[in-house]
Symmetry: C2
Subunit: 260 residues, 2 copies
């Protein structure tokens, strides 16, 4: 059967995460329902690049599936969007190599995390940002971000209970942009892989560094101690966006990110 690779954006607010679950509105379940309807009831299984938790958003989640008919990429995009709810949108569609796998073929991912600042929260940012009301020294965070670059053991930054033994990951880029107009801090992390909750734990730690509650080079110590209890916080799901998934063929774009 022909295989398709599709990039989807979604507002995670009203999804109970990615993975199909009975009686829950999930990303995978919603995509499978649309494709199965398109296929006149024949079930179509969807495979994602990875799960996103409840409330986590995607600007560029990637999925693959096998579909019994040949459909031009553009037509597939239009057909699928006409069947999907309005808080999910197919943004790209293509025919990958025959054995492409959305999860196993990833070479890198990029996550964005938005933090709103200020004494009060904006109720319209509740589902789209984390919130940090305390003073921040941006230069301390910028210094700390440099400690993240390269290969490290992220045991201190992985939610417990994971089955993945090897917690060594490589970070290619870790940036902070200050959006003065929106009064937000915008983090972006690109790496060859991320452990469960890793971005949210990194952000919580970075904010504590920015506030002065932690040493500016505390990441160096946390990589050594390999102890989840030492990096206590986890920033909320609402601020997290899966921005882009990289696959073989995307090396040039990834090299550009590494040079920043």
């Amino acid at each position: 059967m022909p295989r398709y690779k599709v990039t989807v954006a979604y507002d995670g607010t009203k999804f109970s995460g990615f993975q199909s679950q009975p009686d829950q509105r999930t990303v995978q379940g919603t995509l499978e329902a649309a494709l199965t309807k398109m296929n006149k009831g024949g079930f179509i299984r969807v495979y994602g690049s990875g799960r996103t938790d409840a409330g986590v958003h995607a600007l560029g989640q990637v999925i693959h599936f096998d579909y019994p008919k040949e459909i031009p990429a553009r037509n597939l995009l239009l057909a699928l969007n006409s069947l999907l709810p309005l808080d999910m949108e197919v943004v790209a569609s293509e025919r990958p190599v025959a054995d492409f796998h959305a999860q196993f073929d990833t070479i890198a991912k990029c996550y964005r995390y938005r933090v709103s600042r200020g004494r009060f929260t904006n109720p319209f940012k509740r589902f789209y940002t984390g919130h940090y009301p305390y003073p921040i020294d941006v230069r301390r965070i910028e210094t700390a971000l440099l400690d993240l670059l390269g290969e490290h053991d992220f045991t201190s930054f992985a939610a417990s209970g994971g089955v993945i033994k090897n917690k060594v990951r490589t970070i290619y880029a870790a940036t902070l942009t200050v959006d003065e107009a929106q009064n937000e801090l915008i983090f972006e992390f690109t790496g060859n892989g991320f452990l469960y909750n890793m971005v949210r734990i990194l952000v919580a730690t970075l904010l504590e560094i920015g506030n002065g509650r932690r040493d500016v080079h505390d990441f160096r110590r946390l990589f050594e101690v390999k102890d989840r209890q030492q990096a206590r916080g986890t920033a909320p799901a609402s601020g997290l966006y899966l921005k882009k998934v990289y696959y073989p063929g995307d090396e040039a774009a990834l090299d550009q990110i590494k040079m920043i």
Copy 2:
């Protein structure tokens, strides 16, 4: 008991409308729960300027309530915000005249309606705008908006089933702003009162006028025929924002709006 007047903003996405209902997360129920907790369990009844439907937002909904203690306005705002969920925020708090009533004392209201344009919807605007993918001639809408000004019988623009017999209302201002950067149309309507679903029906009719499906002066006909079936559409709740409620004392601000 001292009476308080409080202005709240909320993201309507996760509220089942304003009015308290068993087992539903509502605006009124959420405010009453916070105030009742503040009052150590003694129930506090909240009165709003009017109901908002499920999914409708507020930038400045006004409520009043009686509370057994004297609290400085600023302290009340801080205490209430510490108890409210993050998708609702008290933005102002004051001591009104003793017999102030949030619903019966209104002299005018202003609603905003956001319409996103373009062939595709942005999934992150699904809960915050209506969407209109068809061509629009903005000048036609601007011409039609002038027909709305003044006193008219809005029977054609009221959802059926309402108990209110008198459907004559006065519109003080009706404006359209084109947000090119966001690719949105932003309507604002200020009037002495609005019937159930009236703003959403007006917007649906205005979009049809802008698209050329209706005569540019169709409002004049619709005021005459007094027939809800002739103004068929209702724009979705997601684009609607209760922006401001006017009370005695706000006449000067209202006069400024009328002059635009």
